[in-house]
Symmetry: C2
Subunit: 157 residues, 2 copies
């Protein structure tokens, strides 16, 4: 894969990281997408301090990733992932894939991605959009499609 | 996509985030994969403090993501991405994709992913591994393949 120059400023990777570029944020969203929804559940699973968790949940609501709703008959609230959070599936799958390959050991849980019937293994790949066929990442080119300034020079490679 | 329960501990997402779960780390790797290699280049592009950048680079070398080499005829060093760093292509592409869709505005640089000849647009998708055909993420199931304890109960959904 060739990464051609693009402006650091307003790069969509940086934009994404402004919202989810914190490991607690990603782990809270992982758990929310698994169906956990209550403060005590997140706290118990993550072992995060209550203050820090409260701040992160508030920010996730403000950023439109979690929706806070009252639980009937309880003073407590539920936090449900929004569509914006659900759309992080590729980010989570890519992290799981990389983490399992490069950081995992024998104790690391393996995540098996399959078709919904469990019959066929699936994996994350680049595909040609017109026909949905896989293309090796080494044959993929990335370019910024809306140049905002002249191409930078000074590549050191 | 259905995320079935799996242990928080030793989850490969958490393992990945222990290494790359910091926005500076990802942005340094993004720039390294674009071909930038020198301290001054990273510093100028990211506007990060020199102390913080030095710490992050040192950690990235320790974690096996960057390789530090001497530049001939200079007292300075070059930092080159390793294969482990290069294998983050799906993580970066997934972040760029999500960031462009949910956080971008008219000023945000768009990243265009194409085949190497620039002719065909490509995108990140789940594919059936046997034949490389795309499958919609809503038809993908995730399960941990090496259960380490009995299935948890208490899903709140």
């Amino acid at each position: 894969m060739t990464l051609k120059n693009y402006a650091s400023q307003k790069c969509p990777i940086a934009e994404a990281l402004r919202i989810v570029g914190d490991q607690w944020t990603i782990l809270i969203l992982r758990d929310a997408l698994m169906g956990y929804s209550r403060f005590e559940e997140f706290q118990g699973r993550l072992g995060i301090s209550r203050n820090l968790l409260a701040r992160r949940l508030k920010q996730l609501v403000a950023d439109g990733l979690l929706e806070k709703t009252a639980i009937a008959g309880s003073r407590r609230s539920a936090y449900r992932p929004t569509d914006k959070a659900g759309d992080l599936h590729f980010v989570l799958a890519a992290l799981a894939d990389w983490g399992g390959r490069w950081q995992g050991d024998a104790e690391t849980t393996r995540l098996a991605y399959t078709t919904d019937d469990g019959a066929t293994p699936v994996g994350l790949r680049f595909v040609r959009l017109p026909d949905g066929t896989a293309v090796d990442w080494s044959d993929v080119r990335v370019e910024r499609s809306r140049p905002r300034r002249r191409r930078e020079t000074g590549q050191s490679r």
